[in-house]
Amino acid sequence: MNPALVSFGLYVLAVFALAWIAGKSSSKSKSFVSEYFLGGRALGLWAFALTFATTNASGGSFIGFPAKIYTHGWVLALWIAGYMTVPFIAIGVLGKRLNYVARKVNAITLPEVLGKRFKSDSVTLVATSIIVLFMFFYLMAQFKAGGMILSTLLSEEPLFINGTEFIAQFTPAGMDPEYLLTLIIFSLAVIGYVVYGGFKAVVWTDMMQGIIMFLGVGIMLVLVLWQVGGLERATRELHQMVPPKVCEAVFERTTESPKGKILIKKGTWYKTNNDTVFIIPSKSTLIKEGTNESSSVNAYLYENSRPKELSETASAKISSQKGYAYGENKKGVYLTAPGPDLKKGTGFLAIVTALSFFIFWPFGGTGQPANMVRLMAFKNTQTLRRSIITVAFFYSFIYFCLVVIFCCGKVLMPGMEANADRVMPELAALLSKNAGMPWLAGLLVAAPFAAIMSSVDSFILMLSSSLVRDVYQRINPNASQKKLKSLSYIITLGVGILAVFAMMNPPQYLQDLIIFASGGLAGCLLMPMALCLYWPRMTPKGAIAGMLGALIIHLGLTIIGFKMTGNFEPYDLLDLNPFIWDVIGSAILIISVSLLGKNPPQENTDPFFVD
């Protein structure tokens, strides 16, 4: 059996074992809902720090981010730089205050904190609806990422190939049976341990996943620097590289061609007779035996980067070349800002966009409900202080190292621009193979898989807690612990299954989906939650106006973006991330609507602002 698959399988088994132990220990608690959804508010240093860090580092960090580094180069260091302030902003700004207040009013979910602050069911309902809406999109993206990683590991396994053939019989036309099978395997794994173990299982497995992510990145860094010959050498080689050109390669049968069928393989490097190097990024094609027909396929043409070994020499003509809109034939473009871009003539990252990301990462992180819930669960302020330090070192290491790894990876493994989303597992496989340790690929691939699992589990639980606590318990306040327990299991399972059905035909753009959902959540909830904790004058009408206003702005900018580009990407008004407009709109609405209304009654504000 594939050694990478064995080490990966061992990792998954360890996750299950940990979740099982967590589930056993949770069941001893008296208050099921508090224990199942908040772990009894008793998270210590490592549990809190690592669950916070890993929930934030999702599939995007290990799939989408590496793809962007690979495509645009060192400028991604500027794109991600806002993470240097994430620990003290995302944990510090709301952490102590939210935990203190949630304990005081005995709140378990975020909508409940808002509802108790304003004594208003409408506020709770609006917050719950927003969380359910955006979290579902977020979950969809993570399920797709999980399936993609599994398919890299399993695609050549005979058992998996047989399974795919079996599934293909029941798969409707237009669906990919291989993806469907990986989606089922991934979902069974994650949903299983979340349903059984609840918050504690999620936190414990997050801890282990955090360690795996740290180790995976560390090992990859050492291997890539060793194999590329040092960072300076990689940067100098990257300086020589220019972006590829999109072209058409026309394959023809010549006297030198093999007699039988000619297979033009996806992912294969070809060299033409005049030493031009190109790669076929997608879809293999065939020139049939005994025919002289030509075959025209999309290709990527490379002028001064090529792999160490070329697989094939082909009789092909290159036609209709199209360069990058920014960076064509420009040496050094991967070392500087704004970075090359295929479509945008102004480059990948304008300075205003860089500023908007410096705002988005820390403040968007602050507004994520899955992060805020964790802020309600730590044990005491000593835990909070030490966790901020731990998270700071964790993020500094992970994100900066990822930039270094994939800038070096581009030199080591050129030609993946068209399939950049697969660069992480492919580089892991290459590094392990070159190091003569194929089993290591399983551990390295476990790092992004861990990131995805730790986000999916948190979000499934977040969704089900909103439905159980904020909807069902509000309708049936006297429901027994036994009933709440079985309902929590059923709803958690239901949410997971629903996400799988929604992802059977996944949208194409993974990273766009993640940005839409996480930006929407933070944009709608950041200002209402921050002002609810820091501004006594805020009213329930102000809170609702702020949440709905941000929702309308976010959806509006996404629809405008879709109409303008035809892609699922929002319109960046003045080059600023839509999240910033959501937050500005939300703040203006909360403040103006609150000031236009009456002062909130003192009995509502006292528990939050007076001892």
């Binding site: 508010r41 500027l78 005995n106």
Partner: protein, 90 residues
Amino acid sequence: MTQSKHFKQAKSELGIFLTGWLFFAAWVITYSYFNAYKDQNEEPSITFGMPSWVFWGIAVPWICATAFTVYLSLFVIKDQEFRNEEDQKK
């Protein structure tokens, strides 16, 4: 209305967090604006293996931000008693 000690402390800490964020945002964005957006057609400027603008405009502020985070956690954020969940049930 007399504000609680906890609320006052949280407000003063909030001011320090936001000032810290503003300082690092100004450093990174200003430095990068003047140094990262320059063409490097010929010999690249490299410090410790990375482009010099990444070193001075991202890596150094990142190290300083981490040091600032440690300082905040050890000396600025004050410990406060939380209401225990078990007490609450009583």
